[in-house]
Symmetry: C2
Subunit: 207 residues, 2 copies
DNA sequence: CTATGTGAATTTATTCACAGCA
DNA sequence: TGCTGTGAATAAATTCACATAG
């Protein structure tokens, strides 16, 4: 293994590999070849091998990859091997679903705080997390929370991001359909389902 | 303008341009240059021009693009200029949010049917749409519904997809964290928020 | 003999820089 | 002059094909 700049596309695929491997692991499978994994994920075996090869020699020639070992390695690469505490801002319909979603845990995310501006919601619990006043966002640093999840209406997204950044978060998951501006040291990922849906008709044959 | 194969990446960006243009339009802006739009979307002006140029000459040299005209053109390219009826299967937490989400309308999507397997839910209304028994999925073709949205638990995702395909849908938006197999004539887009979240720590500096 | 790891070849996408038009 | 439209140059990503190790 030599030095290579790691393609962003490789990083984008690693969570997909991880999800597949976790599934295989649940099923009790101990070894997997690049070909098997590619079959399962409808991917390309050569690409899988190349993606892994950027980080080291994870497999055994003639045999394949040990599922558990590979899971551990990918978690390490993606820095999912340490628990990341996250705070969610905006406990509306979407926010409540995200709060209740159990699927993040396996990737090392723990939503430990929730904030809202609506005094009627404050104090109530969703999924065993007490909703706090947004003014409490400033306590995040003390509470070792380094990820913010924005599920507020679009008009409030930027000010929410500002508050989160001020409170020291290093990463933001933004569900508002807009761009938000943050210092370069903070990473933002924006998720807008409509952006995906909007490309579906283009690829739909005979429409 | 000459013939060019259109890059998938261009298609991926068009909805983002559209979202930005719709916002500018709401604000009353009538003209926009590639530079302005790039500033607004944190994109590259040259890339914006190149993306548009694959489809025709939409702009005016020395002036820029007419916002409304550009919106119309992008809608046409993405085939969002005709209304697509969609059916949602699985009215749980996530399904209810998707059903209630108003943001799809502007992209030409109209969720007109909802299905669930739980007899306690059947007949109830969410966002003014009556929940039907999943056995009714077979009526989709008659009802001119060509998009299916899967918000059922993972274990039921494939059989739901099978039912939707059998009922004639041409596109599927899958929110279950797994791959589903469909005939080549049907396009599937899988959305798994955890896949995005899982790449956040890698890009978070100093973590 | 099997399946990995990886340079090299190819394909795809982005950026550049400027000709051409309002 | 200002901004688009676009070939050409560059960069990035994917695929290929095979040497290499178990």
């Amino acid at each position: 293994m030599r030095y290579h700049k790691i393609p962003d596309e490789t990083i984008r695929r690693l969570p997909i590999y991880l999800r597949g491997l976790l599934f295989l692991s649940e099923e009790g499978q101990q070894n997997v070849s690049s070909h098997d994994l590619a079959d399962f994920l409808r991917a390309n075996p050569g690409q899988i091998r190349k993606d892994f090869s950027y980080f080291g020699d994870f497999g055994t020639r003639g045999v394949g990859y040990k599922v558990e070992h590979l899971i551990k390695q990918i978690r390490k690469i993606l820095k999912l091997d340490v628990v990341h505490k996250a705070a969610l801002v905006g406990v509306g319909n979407l926010g409540s679903v995200v709060l209740a979603y159990q699927g993040f845990k396996v990737y090392g995310f723990d939503i430990t705080a929730a904030f809202d501006i609506d005094s009627k919601k404050i104090g109530k619990k969703v999924n065993n997390i007490a909703i706090e006043n947004v003014s409490n966002i400033q306590t995040l640093k003390k509470r070792k929370i380094d990820i913010g999840i924005i599920t507020v209406p679009r008009a409030a997204a930027q000010e929410t991001a500002d508050a989160l950044v001020k409170a020291g978060v290093k990463g933001v998951l933004n569900f508002s359909p807009c761009y938000i501006t943050v210092p370069k040291k903070v990473k933002v990922l924006t998720i807008d389902i409509a952006m995906d849906l909007a490309r579906l008709p283009y690829y739909m044959p005979s429409c």
